[in-house]
Symmetry: C2
Subunit: 433 residues, 2 copies
Amino acid sequence: MSNNLLSTQPYKGTRDFYPAEMRFRNWFFGKIREVLERSAYEEYNAPMLESFDIYAAKSGEELASTQTYNFMDRGDRHLAIRPEMTPSVARMVAAKIYDLNMPLKWFAIPNMYRCEAPQRGRLREFWQLNVDIFGCDGFEADMDVIESAINVLRVFGADETMFKVHINNRRFFNDVISAICDSDADGAKKVSKIVDKKNKIPREVYEKEMGALGIDAEKLAKIDALYTMSVEEATALCPDSVGAKELSDLFALLEETGLAKYCVFDFGIIRGLDYYTGTVFEVFDEAPENNRAMYGGGRYDNLVGLFVKNAKVSGVGYGMGDVTLENFLVTHNLVPDFSEGNTKVLVARFNDVPYKEYIALTASLRDAGITSALYLGTKKFGKQIDYASKEGYTHIVIMGGSEFENGVVKVKNLLTREENEVAIAELANYFVK
Amino acid sequence: MSNNLLSTQPYKGTRDFYPAEMRFRNWFFGKIREVLERSAYEEYNAPMLESFDIYAAKSGEELASTQTYNFMDRGDRHLAIRPEMTPSVARMVAAKIYDLNMPLKWFAIPNMYRCEAPQRGRLREFWQLNVDIFGCDGFEADMDVIESAINVLRVFGADETMFKVHINNRRFFNDVISAICDSDADGAKKVSKIVDKKNKIPREVYEKEMGALGIDAEKLAKIDALYTMSVEEATALCPDSVGAKELSDLFALLEETGLAKYCVFDFGIIRGLDYYTGTVFEVFDEAPENNRAMYGGGRYDNLVGLFVKNAKVSGVGYGMGDVTLENFLVTHNLVPDFSEGNTKVLVARFNDVPYKEYIALTASLRDAGITSALYLGTKKFGKQIDYASKEGYTHIVIMGGSEFENGVVKVKNLLTREENEVAIAELANYFVK
């Protein structure tokens, strides 16, 4: 061991999870698993390291190269730590495309890395809930995925005052832009790039870039108007559009099923990536101090085609980061007090009773399903009580020599300070009752 | 999208987890969490990427370099994907050494990477259960950790015919070798290296290497004899040894608490790494076809000292790989049938009932806590039944136009083929009862 001490800090942009943090994470991921499994979504996972190619094929060599941690292995294979799950899951679907039973309702909560400067809500290592349906082209899958995106917040007690799902449709977007600007699909795509960054650039820049595409003030005014229109008004602008029908059908169904209160039509939702083809959505935090997109997704076509010739498997899904969810739960006071209601018993230890008696007593509690531990060591009772309180034990069991001789223990409730004498044979029942 | 198709295979030595595999993993990791938490072990986690230095400091630059995936980040920081958890947890303990409430009972189930040729039971990506107690120097912690190493198998229904914990003590080893060979601590350490590989080298090589340390046939016979001795016989050879007392105290306690049937003294257990200082153990699979060490651990001193000057925090713990555990559970037939007992309901869809009615029906089942999904798509009923059976649904709910008009559904049990008519308002109760 050298004299140079090592740093105790985790790598920049990553986090250590001490037990209190881990309890919180296990709680919220557990709730999410529960709500998704109840809707028959099934969990999967894939390796943390993947071939670099699968990111390059989806996002381009340059983006993949700057955004991932990537390196060569000793066999000269170019690997990357996954920065997202979609290429992995597309690969997995492709690998068993003839065996899998479509439609698939899948989810995962993998850890992943993004090679970028850490900032609020974005870290280098993060966990991301991924929910996807593969192999259903219809609006039914869009509806199911959006319903699940609502339920993963509702399960924590969040209501419509706390979040809203902003919904748009890429096909509708293209059609309405084409109708307004008289442009083709390629022109609409160029417009989408500018709309996508509208909130991040000054109005003058926005107008200038639109102008460069031949969009004059009159057309611009028509586009601006879309932001405040209802779905009915907006879709009426291109009545023959398949995308418009998809959008209005979806909103009609949201209305009929009582989910419309969580949703809003938002013409500004584009989801930058080119592979989105239909419904797109982003879930916004409604808290004034944090009013921004938390997570989102949409329908994307045929990533599976990167792996299997002539494969046509469309998907619809979303990804939600753990940091985002944590911020949301804390902001809206949706985190319970974990110390409440969970009995946790420390058996104190004294030197005048054989050690084996303590082990047997602790095992009997555990066998009855009660979380319990024996104090490890020989410190004075005061120190043991101290330890129990700091570690969140709710009760301490006292069996000194005289108690042991009489076949009893004292049980002290560390929250109420109440103390009771209980027969050893009755101890498990005392806690279970 | 290029014309060159990408490989659908995961990176060599890593695994994709499809839902069936993932269900199995979630089941066994869930059982392990439950049994450890019941003994008040608390879960933690650390980042997947760590500074390369922490592995180099523990295992030496060369070993760390060949065994880990390591690379430089853009800020020229030398990083490694963790090949083990111990350096990370030592770092975490060091970072809060003055705040943490010792002794700590901690566990983690992280994913990690080992850069080596995959072989049976050893893959490049694996998950490893890590259980450790920090800050308790006494045999109490050794006992607690060994008890937990037994309980993480017992929780699956494994008994003493299926596994055995082989126990030794490094301090005792040094003392008894010193007594037999008249050597000092350094000499005993050299002997330990040879003993550690005894089963992997021919007897002649073993004898030759021992001979080179000045250990003649007579001394060798005495060492050989240790392998078949009881704890009492072995420890009697060096009655003043602290390690001998630790070993016999531990076995006495195992006897008194009924755990001795799971344990055996084994002089051959060394655990190669130099940092082990006291109790060491390995858990063996007793199946004849797989009779070998599955996992192990022991007491190690002061890894925390790599991070904090003058820190003295000893630890005792073990690590168990997921592949090992999977093999054990399968070999001993300890995997339950996951399809049993879990109601999973598919609501079939027909075109003569409004879609919203199906969504409402499915949501009402889900709200009653029943795992249920609506068939996504418009395929014929026969295809929907087919889908339900393949995806492990236990029931299918049929609400065609005539049922809907009469306020009823048909429920078909896919396992028994039984079919019942149930009032829509009673449907949730039908499954809950």
